[in-house]
Amino acid sequence: MMAVTVYVMARSRNLFGVVILAGIYSFLMATVLVAMDAVDVAMTEASVGAGISTVLFLGALYLCKSEEARPLHKPWLPLALSMTVGGVLVYGTLGLPEFSDPAAPIHTHVVPRYLNDIKREVDVPNVVTAVLASYRGYDTLGETTVVFTAGAGVVALLRRRRKDRRP
């Protein structure tokens, strides 16, 4: 279903349809994440990917034409490039351990310490929150700063310069 969505998105020239399909794709992705027991990530995907970015894309669409322009060049070189990169990535995943393999390196490094000591050290039932906010506090601070920087960049680019227009 996701493959069909992506194919239609790539073929379609109507940008409105593409935006809506991207939202559908996000919801499908969120469903997959729920199936993989990553509820926190699924929730983020559903709210950010399907919710906010669809609205922002529609807002951007309002500013431009809703039909995609015909490309000037044949898409073969970019297609070959992305196919190659995709192929390399898929090849990389072949070396990964099986999904939910208890002997995988990720489950033997710090995870046992988190799972065993969390009751004593943090005592928060949702382990994801504890890891995100406490054990990996620096990372989350960095993420928050990234979000702030993105907002500041948009403000710097799009703020109306009224003084320039009316001297």
């Binding site: 926190d40 709210s47 929150t129 406490s134 506090g137 928050t144 702030f148 948009v154 403000v155």
Partner: protein, 142 residues
């Protein structure tokens, strides 16, 4: 769209629940899925919903632009402030154990404030970006 009665009434009914859900996601993040990022986005979504139905000008009255801009910065400041509080109280940066006499309580307190900071920044940035986009198109210049 702005004077569609059905949409207006439906929005009035739905928005309180969206806000409540955002708060639930925020403060229940310790126990279930959720946390600052998701709550911030849902909070922003509620205001964007309001802006879509009632127009950008009314939304600006409810959530004025200077508030949104200061929210962006204050979230990061709250987060970093928690870290500095840890320093002041004698721990490492972003060390929550020292925030309370009981180290587990300190953790709870630290996570709580950190999540508040994240939610503030995220919703501020989302709203600001939306305002910026909507403003350029002059959605309701009447």
């Amino acid at each position: 769209m702005r004077y569609d009665l059905v949409l207006r009434v439906a929005a009035k009914l739905l928005i309180p629940f969206i806000l409540l859900f955002a708060l639930y996601v925020q403060f229940h993040g310790d126990f279930g899925p959720g946390g600052g990022f998701q709550a911030g986005v849902i909070l922003a979504a509620a205001v964007i919903f309001y802006a879509l139905i009632y127009g950008l000008r009314d939304a600006r009255k409810v959530v004025p632009e200077p508030l949104v801009e200061s929210m962006m910065a204050f979230g990061v400041l709250i987060y970093a402030g928690v870290g500095v509080a840890g320093l002041v109280l004698g721990g490492n940066y972003l060390d929550y154990f020292v925030l309370d006499a009981d180290s587990v309580h300190g953790q709870h307190r630290g996570i709580f404030w950190v999540e508040v900071g994240v939610a503030t920044t995220v919703s501020g940035v989302m709203l600001k970006i939306f305002y910026m986009f909507a403003d350029r198109g002059k959605v309701d210049d009447e």
